[in-house]
Each structure stands twice: as C-alpha cells, then as structure tokens.
C-alpha cells in the first residue's frame, strides 16, 4: 500500500472496511491458480492478448533509432484499460458483488467497465463529468449500448477529477453490493498496487518480446504516457529490474509527476497540481485520459528514487506526433499515447536519445476516439 512516502488509504472511515475487503479478496485471489486461469483465458480469448510488439521501420529510420511499439491499441475496446478491468471484475464477482462502479474521463475506462460487466453479468454504473459527456458523446452511447448506466457529474470542473469524487461518494452508500472499479493506479490502497499488478501483463509481455526481438534483449529506453499512470506502471513493472531507462511522459497541462506537489486526493498521498492554498488545480490536456491533476503514488516514488524520469509534452507536439506516426506507420494512436511518441521524436531530434538507441514504447490505445477532436483542430 505504500510506495516510499506515497500511497496509503486516506478514505472516510465508512470506506475503510470496503477497501480492506478488496485487499483481502485480492490477496487471496491472486495466488489462486483458478483465478489466474480465468483471468488468463479472458485476456486471451476476449482481449486478444498477447498484443504484438511492432518494430516501426520508417519512423525509426527517420529518427535514427530503433523504436518498438507495444500495441495495447489492438486490445478489445481499444486501450489497455481492459486488462485491469477484467481482473477487477473477476474479483468483484468472486467477492459476490453484483454491481461495478467506475469513474471515466474520455470514456475508455467506462467502456471497458461496461464491457466487463456485460461479459460477467454484472450491473455497471459509470460516473462521468458533464463536460466529458458532451465531449465524448459516442463513448457514452457505447457504454449505454453495453447496458451500463452513465451518471452525469455536474459538480466542480465537471471532468474526471469530479467524476472520481462522485464515484467515491456513491460507493460510500453502496459498499454492500457494489465494487468500485478504479481505472488507474490511483485511489486508496490496495488500488494502486492491484491495478499495477493487473497491468503488468503489458510489461511482462513486452520484456519477453524485446528479448526475442533485440540483440541486447533489453531496450535502452522504456517510454509510456502518464495520466494517472496505469499503462506506464504496468509497463515499467516489467523493466524496473533491468538497465532500461524508464520515461513517463505527461501532458504539459496535467503533469502531476513533473510539476505536482505532495498532497492527498482520492485516497492516496501522491503528487498533485495545486495552488498555494492547497486547492487542487484543474488539469488541461487535449488528451482526455491525461486530463487529471495528479499521478499514481508509485510514480511519485519512482520519481523520488530517480528510477523513472517524468517529462512533459504540449498538445501541439502530441498532435503532430500522432499525424507523423499515422503517415509513416499506418497507426492512428490515441492522443494520450501520442504524447509518448512526441517525446521520443523530440528527444531523438535533440540527440538526447543516442543514434541507434532501442526504445520500447507502450502505445496505450487507439486514436479512433480522438478523430473528432483532431478534426475540429484541422
């Protein structure tokens, strides 16, 4: 539950028992071969794991490096979110819960939760800020088509931060039958640890694929975008004990790890964007999934340790990187993932990545959801 000085369980007393119940259930389920088999099978037959590791030849040649993409965009529902959600949904069913609660920003975690709920015969209630509902109308309809209830959140900035708060409020009154399915490596213990554990399938697969693909076995750099940071946490977990340099790429307007200060929000001590009075500041990013003013506690810890670096990228850099990857490789990445690509392009151009460097980058999701956003810019 603790990552150095970060993490913990800063929840109302009413949720302490519920969090403990989740922790105990997870500690009991995770080593159970039956649980592992069920999860592995769902990841194979529903999600389409393992996802490929794609060497990108044309962009690599242009940049003078060797770039490999871990293709989470090819998973069912189109982002890495499903890895975690299926794990938690199996756990919820094992705990005898009948409802899933989730918060969502762009809607990817909401769609994943609605999907897992439909698959396992659970009900799903997804909290989503009213502004995000307007921006991501199609994902709202996808969730409803999957049978989920989507609840608009009208408070605060009416985005992900407020949806998360509202999901927690709802859970306080519904712990008996409901399981709160957190979408990132945020929230109170055991969530940051559990979500990373479910997501480390990304890093473990990539580690093995790199060993097969690279003469050096381990890449020089491992790069992933960071909102709350679940795809990065899962990716880094597979490489933390290697010589690979770990780089988390944040949106300039949502750079909890790079620019945040220590605080407590949504159950964990971590790094958050806040003003001098300690009020949490709204994040602003073109990528809805990076539009969160904090970062998971493990990232705060990795930063303090110096084991991972956290860098920022602007909206414009991300958009340009998205188009460049599309034109050179035929891959339309999610705007979130495009941030990671943008940093690689910038760092290769600046000589920060030495010529010939091997870079493993997790492409966390596909960009179909972003086409209308990009279209408005064009």
């Amino acid at each position: 539950g603790r990552f150095g000085n970060y993490g913990g369980g800063y929840v109302p007393e009413s949720l302490v028992a519920a969090c403990r119940q989740v922790e105990e259930a997870f500690r009991e389920a995770w080593p159970d071969p039956g649980f592992q088999q069920s999860l592995a099978r769902l990841l194979a037959v529903q999600v389409g794991r393992p996802t490929p590791l794609t060497p990108v030849r044309r962009l690599s040649a242009e940049l003078g490096i060797n770039l490999l993409l871990k293709r989470e965009d090819l998973t069912h529902t189109g982002s890495h979110k499903i890895n975690n959600v299926l794990g938690q949904a199996l756990l919820a069913r094992r705990m005898g819960k009948t409802h899933l609660i989730a918060e969502t920003g762009a809607g990817q975690h909401g769609v994943a939760t609605a999907t897992a709920a439909a698959l396992l015969g659970l009900a799903a209630t997804v909290f989503m800020g009213q502004r995000d509902i307007e921006r991501q109308a199609l994902n709202v309809y996808r969730m409803r088509m999957l049978g989920a209830e989507v609840v608009p959140v009208e408070t605060g900035s009416r985005t992900l931060k407020d949806a998360t708060s509202q999901a927690m409020r709802h859970w306080v009154g519904a712990t008996e039958h409901s399981y709160y399915c957190v979408g990132s490596v945020i929230g109170p213990h055991p969530y940051p640890w559990m979500v990373r554990t479910f997501q480390r399938v990304i890093g473990d697969e990539a580690r093995g694929q790199c060993a097969a693909e690279l003469s050096t076995a381990v890449p020089d750099y491992v790069v992933a975008c960071v909102g709350g940071g679940s795809n990065a946490a899962g990716t880094f977990a597979g490489f933390v004990d290697t010589s690979a340099r770990l780089v988390g790429v944040e949106a300039e307007g949502g750079a909890g790890a790079a620019l945040g200060r220590v605080g407590v929000l949504h159950g964990a001590r971590s790094l958050f964007l806040q003003d001098g009075d300690g009020q949490i500041v709204e994040a602003h990013s073109i990528a809805a999934g990076l539009d969160y003013p904090g970062v998971g506690p493990e990232h705060a810890h990795l930063r303090d340790l110096g084991r991972a670096r956290y860098v920022t990228v602007t909206d414009d850099e991300a958009t340009s990187a998205l188009v460049r990857l599309a034109r050179t490789e035929g891959i339309v990445a999610a705007l979130e993932s495009a941030h990671a690509v943008a940093w690689v392009i910038r760092a290769a151009g600046a000589g920060e990545l030495p010529p010939g460097a091997t870079v493993m980058l997790t492409l966390s999701g596909r960009g179909d959801k972003d086409v209308s956003t990009l279209k408005e810019l064009a």
């Binding site: 109302p12 009413s14 028992a17 200060r261």
Partner: protein
C-alpha cells in the same frame, strides 16, 4: 453542534455569531477544499461558493481570530489542506486562531498518527470518526485515540439532509458509548429538531450541517439561522429535561 462553511458569504462571521448566540455548544467551521469527497450536494455547493469568493484557510482563520471564547470552535477539512502546510504548522495556526478541535473526514485511524501528534503538541483535539461499518476492535481503538469527542457517522453515505434518521445512528452511538467515556456526537443527515431529538437519545449531542448550509445558501440571514438553531436547541433541552 452546528456546522458552517468558512467564507461561504461575505458576512459569514455574523452567521457564526448568530449560531453561538442561539445556544450552540460548539461550532464546526468548514475550511473549504476543492474536492470534498465525503460531502453531499449542499456542502459541495457551499464549498464552491466559498472558494469562488476566494476563501482560504488563512483568510478564514483571520476572520475568526478573536471570536467569542465561550463557544468552542472545531475546524473540519480534508487532509490535503493539512498536508499543504504540514500538520504542525496547520495545527498551530488553528490554535492561534482560537480553534480547539479538528475533524478530517478523509483521515482514518490508520493514517492519523502524524496529524494526531501535531495536534496534541499544540493542544488541538483531533476528532476521529466512526462509521456503521467500523468493526468492534477498531471502534474501541478509534474511541480511545479520538480527542474532544467521537464523531459518529450516522449512516453509510455522504453529508446531506435525509427524511429520517438512519437506524444505524443509534446502534453506532450505543456501540461507541460502550467503548469510551468520551462524548459521542452524531452527524450526517440530521436536519430537523425532531431528528436531532431522536439522534440525541443515544448520544451526547448532534451535528447539523447541510440543513443549516441549505438555508444559508438560500439567503437566510444570521437571525433566520439563529432562530432555526434556537428551535433545535429548545427541542433538545426539552427532551433532556424529561424523565
């Protein structure tokens, strides 16, 4: 004990005084935080109004410095504001403003050590909360480590007005009283004099928040709010005077 969001209006200190004058045993002063995860819509709205007015911890503490000594003030806020200053500086500032207690709804027993030490070192009571979901040995530990009083959260839910007092309120208050001699105050969902009377039967007092803030947000004057509280005070006193 009535609750008032600090800085909710320009004249909020007048409301505070009216509540004191109407017979409050103590007053809970909310220090507004941008993300009040345990509050229902009314206190969220009050919080937003205060922040929109530019309310800050320092400003609110300034407003109440020198406030009448005869009614104790208890601050309540979320832990991020405590962490921002550091628990020691934060608690010292409370004490300097004449505040005697602190309630932090997102700070459970397990995480409370640092804040408890800081509060104790400056003589501020860190009030812990217990909920209907709190199991027995933990409840005893909460009761033991809470200072000032124990805050009994009447129901599994957020703050806000409800039609009836939850059955869990009486059960929880009795359980806490079985573990400690410290006063037990019941809060969450207590809006009317009748509900206050009902909740107070198994406790030492009640906390009324959203019902008051609803009136303040709707434009009630300090006199209006004082009159409401006085009614509740009378109802509680009558009940207590009965055999």
């Amino acid at each position: 004990m009535p609750y008032l969001t600090g800085g909710v209006t320009a004249t909020w200190v007048d409301h505070l005084r009216a509540l004191a004058d109407a017979g409050a045993d103590a007053i809970e002063v909310g220090l507004p935080f941008s993300d009040p995860t345990l509050d229902g819509v009314t206190i969220q709205e009050a919080t937003d109004a205060a922040l929109a007015r530019g309310a800050t911890v320092r400003g609110i503490l300034g407003d109440i410095t020198g406030f009448t000594d005869d009614v104790p003030l208890v601050a309540s806020t979320y832990y991020n504001l405590v962490v921002r200053d550091g628990p020691e500086r934060f608690c010292a500032a409370l004490r300097d403003a004449g505040i005697s207690g602190l309630i932090v709804p997102d700070l459970p027993l397990d995480e409370a050590g640092e804040a408890a030490d800081a509060a104790a070192s400056v003589g501020v009571d860190l009030v812990l909360l217990a909920s209907p979901a709190t199991p027995q040995p933990r409840l005893a530990e909460i009761a033991r480590r809470s200072r000032g009083f124990v805050y009994a959260v009447s129901l599994m839910g957020t703050t806000g007005e409800r039609a009836t007092v939850a059955e869990s309120a009486a059960t929880l208050a009795s359980r806490i009283k079985g573990s400690t001699d410290r006063p037990v105050l019941v809060g969450f969902g207590i809006s009317t004099p009748q509900q206050a009377v009902e909740a107070a039967r198994s406790a030492d007092g009640v906390i009324v928040g959203a019902a008051i803030m609803r009136r303040v947000l709707d434009g009630a004057t300090p006199d209006d709010v004082g009159a409401d509280l006085a009614k509740m005070r009378r109802a509680l006193d009558q009940e207590r005077d009965q055999p």
